[in-house]
Symmetry: C3
Subunit: 449 residues, 3 copies
């Protein structure tokens, strides 16, 4: 009863307080940028922009919508695979993403887009994409905790996750000047270690009490495939959404498309030898097929070459599937990390691979391949970093990977500690993975015809 009391009050209280806080902060800080303001027409004239099409909206809106689908349908449905936690999977994903994007607009705005003249954050479509990206890291973290935490805990996880993300992103992109267009490091590595550490702090030794609810059933696996496929199909948009106009976006799409295709093949291969009788495991197909997209996040804009992209997908599909086979059970038993969705296999390891691939590809970039201007454009060797060499860039890329891991581990430990407080209405061990705790579920036979 007490638990329920807390849940009820917590949800209402937090949703209202936070949403009102968002309204106030948006009122103080957020304004339209020059491309979404009615003064655009004057801006166009002043800057001699010949057509409305040069509004960044037309460069980025299709990619934005694809990313948006990945966040809400992709992540949401991927988490419907549990037999009795589909409402929680897709529903809480919806809740925390909707909250997170607002907070992300503020946090990322303060760090990256604060106008020095009027101290306002000017937003446009690129900010919306970045907010979606930022929230993705928290949804990844949710994957480790799926079924074991309350919605209030998830909102706290998201509040701090977005905050940490913004700082980490600032360090990696602005201070280290590392490149990470698709967020192998910034989004996936950080999000995964953040979630895994939280899950480690919240370890439930008696979780086996709800073991009968931990698996999937036939049709929840088909629902989850909706999530998988929308993530898989739109991942080229994810990795190219904020890439450079022109060849940058174009190349990021090709690289990601190829890496994803490649990891499908190796996932099926490994999955088929893993089981008795060579049967395939839906868990692998739902997850490890996406590893190529994660691993191509950092280097998507680089001249990694089409076959290089295939190699990245090849390796990450193998690593990810083996992760599901051996690492997840090992982590649960030995390291006491209960990782419901296997985010270590889908996001952490491929994310780290992506970071390493990015560092190596950057360090081995050359003017003969990129062209002089191409090299400068791709790595933004301008202003403060005008004299940086590709070798040094590679070093900074590697440093960025460590920053992402460190933020995940330390941030996760802190937030995990907060979430361990007995005030958040988390479910009892026996009620984990059960929608019935937080949702009105109709007790009824499904099919009578």
């Amino acid at each position: 009863m007490n638990t329920y009391f807390l849940i009820t009050d917590g949800m209402v209280f937090i949703c209202f307080v936070w949403q009102i806080a968002m309204i106030i902060l948006f009122g103080v800080f957020i304004r339209y940028d020059e491309e979404s303001d009615t003064h655009w027409i004057e801006h166009r004239r002043k800057k001699n922009i010949s057509t409305n099409l040069e509004n960044d909206f037309y460069y980025r809106y299709p990619s934005f919508q694809d990313v948006h689908v990945m966040i809400f349908v992709g992540f949401g449905f991927l988490m419907t695979f549990l037999k009795r936690y589909s409402f929680g999977g897709v529903g809480f994903n919806f809740l925390i993403a909707a909250f997170g994007i607002q907070w992300a607009l503020l946090m990322q705005g303060w760090f990256h887009h604060l106008d020095e003249h009027d101290w306002k954050i000017k937003i446009g479509v690129e900010n919306l994409i970045n907010a979606d990206f930022c929230v993705a890291s928290c949804l990844i973290a949710y994957g480790a905790c799926l079924g074991k935490v309350s919605p209030v805990q998830l909102m706290v996880l998201t509040l701090f996750g977005v905050t940490l993300f913004a700082v980490e992103e600032y360090i990696i992109l602005e201070l280290l000047h590392a490149k990470d267009a698709g967020g192998s490091m910034v989004i996936h590595t950080f999000g995964a270690y953040y979630g895994l550490t939280i899950s480690w702090v919240l370890y439930r030794p008696l979780l086996s009490q709800s073991k009968h609810l931990q698996g999937s059933v036939y049709h929840s696996d088909v629902f989850a495939m909706i999530g998988t496929l929308f993530l898989w199909m739109y991942w080229p948009s994810f990795n190219s959404a904020i890439a450079d106009h022109g060849d940058g976006q174009h190349r990021a799409v090709i690289n990601t498309y190829l890496a994803l295709a490649s990891s499908v093949l190796t996932t099926f291969a490994i999955s088929s030898i893993s089981q008795n009788n060579g049967k395939l495991d839906m868990v692998h197909i739902q997850n490890a097929t996406l590893a190529g997209g994660v691993a191509m996040g950092t280097a998507s804009e680089f001249m990694i070459t089409p076959y290089g992209s295939l190699i990245v997908g090849f390796c990450s599909g193998i690593v990810s599937t083996f992760g599901y086979l051996f690492l997840t059970p090992f982590m649960e038993k030995t390291l006491k990390i209960q990782d419901t969705c296997g985010i270590h296999n889908l996001h952490a390891m491929p994310g780290v691979i992506g970071g390493i691939v990015g560092a190596i590809t950057a360090a081995s970039a050359s003017e003969s391949v990129y062209g002089q201007e191409g090299l400068i454009n791709t790595f933004d060797f301008k202003d403060a970093v005008a004299n940086r060499t590709v070798n040094i860039q590679g070093g900074y890329q590697a440093a960025a990977l460590f920053v992402a891991i460190a933020f995940g581990l330390v941030g996760g430990a802190l937030v995990g500690g907060i979430l361990k407080l007995p005030i958040w209405g988390d479910p009892a061990d026996v009620n984990c993975f059960d929608d019935d705790v937080y949702w009105e579920v109709i007790v009824f036979f499904f099919f009578f015809f």
Copy 2:
């Protein structure tokens, strides 16, 4: 038997007659416009258009496809929530939308796009979007009648609905010169009152005979979430699809994105206090989370500011969820309006809010905020209305809202009367919400493994 006879004959007869009528009318009236005609290349040269990209196709096609998904998957799957009416939900939605868009191209063409020289309607991508918009109002009306009407009745509802829509739209957009880019008034308010009035005329006092079929089951609720999420994600495209090129589309997206995010939070909050033990209700999550998009339809292009958008979403989420809690039962008991999907809560009230917000925002627009040119562009203060002030514009916006409501009520009463005739093969009370009446349904156990 007689009923079935009518259904059979009705479907075949109406589908064929209508489709042949469409072919003839299209033959007489519909032609490609200058941007979809092979003479485009000459048109380009004549108008000195430098690039193919200036073809409106490239400004609007991505938004069109998003809107298209909302119409067919969004509305369609949102209506699969009933445990035994998923075929009817998604299938009849498909049927009437496919019919309606053809009729809409004609009706809207006659009112808005008739070429004075040759009396032809010239169509391009914007017409396709508008046809989808027009049909949306009939699909909203379907929501009130879901499970209680025959497909033939739905086609009649759509035929008249599209006709009424075109007239109403003409009055609102052309005569009153009101702005309504996302159709809070034109689409949602009209469609909802149209459907509710029809449902009121078709009141079934003994509907409780099929009460056991009125609810959802676990997996039909997950199916419905597919509809919810595609509506939610693509609503920014809906509200920006026919907005002004450049900043207009850009701003409409930002405003809608924020309003939607905000209404998710308040929907979860209200839903959690509404039930025993603070449990969430899937009906609210599936519907009220969308209220922000509806309510942002009219003002999406205006400089409502980002925090203004959040406030609109905040309020409409609350109003909509409370509607599901208190108004729907009240309307059913006292007003004798049986509203299967709760369109009063999702479309009528948020639509009216949207109309009011639009009127207020228009009336309070100023040159200091919009800039001189921006103000003229946003409200199209040109030609006949070149001297209109924002205050007067606000008044016309309010008048438009009443036109939309009036068309819904009067039109719904008339069409409801027609649909009450005992010739349309509507299901008996006991057969409502049952696919078995209109579909081959395999009587079979679902899971035997």
Copy 3:
């Protein structure tokens, strides 16, 4: 046991060998084209291209993503309709599409895009679209074999299918210079006859042993509607994806949109008279509604007029639905062709209709309708075919249709022969349409609440 052994080994071996082969061949042959290479900026300057937007990426990427969704979600979910073969439907579709697109990039590259200077294939977004198109033909063929073949057989089917496709496409598009933007002939006719012939060679006289698994259940039909609707909604993108910039893409969208709407009406009409009591059949709605899109593939770019498009959809919806009613049973009984998804009705007949419509429309094209430049642009009457008349073009279009059919029949017979070898681990008759052979399926009651 032996069967399983073969399956296991086959999957691993083939996936690895093929993926490694792909990496090597991509390393040797595939490079970024000038629009996805970092040298784009220099290319722009050289060619005096004023803006990044002129990068083909911005013309085609939204369409590409829509096509991508059709391939993976559209075809994938359309094949989930079987009650116990949903994993195989969506999963193997995923596997062979991911493999096929890689092989297609190579095969199509060698035939169409081989740079004469350095013997490399330069790829950009149009190649990605074409690879998706190419794979579509193999997925169509899969539809005939669904549930009766092993994943290894499917991969062999795809390997040869893509190869045949590339040759056939080269003959039709390059040698005959026929137009086929949406692939009525190249994709649908070829793919369907390829699959049907394979199915004929692999005829299983005792397939009735798994008859109890051949049908759908309520919810698998709803899953299949996801596939249907995404195919239906995005078909305008399919038929316009590689059409000419500007009016070509624009017109292809309008034509396809209208043909599809029209075939929905006639499908519902015919379906309602086909059953006892006028009930609708989900199989028809899931498939025949798409016939208009298939039949509009060749003529989508032509000035077929809006009402012409409606007529095409009208007829193909009727033909396709009647096919499901009469031809599929006839073919199974008399011709010994077991066509699980009815691809003969959805792809073969509408594809042939599309080819004929294309030939007639081309032959009747005129300068008065197209304009002089428009005619040249639409049919590419340049270089070697500068003097071709529309009548001759019509003849070549007809010839192209025969090439597509011939490649399907002969190719299918050859590949069917290969697939008949008893080394591919195909399921026993009694195990057809059963996921349990190739997938870990949890034997568990689904709903206990």
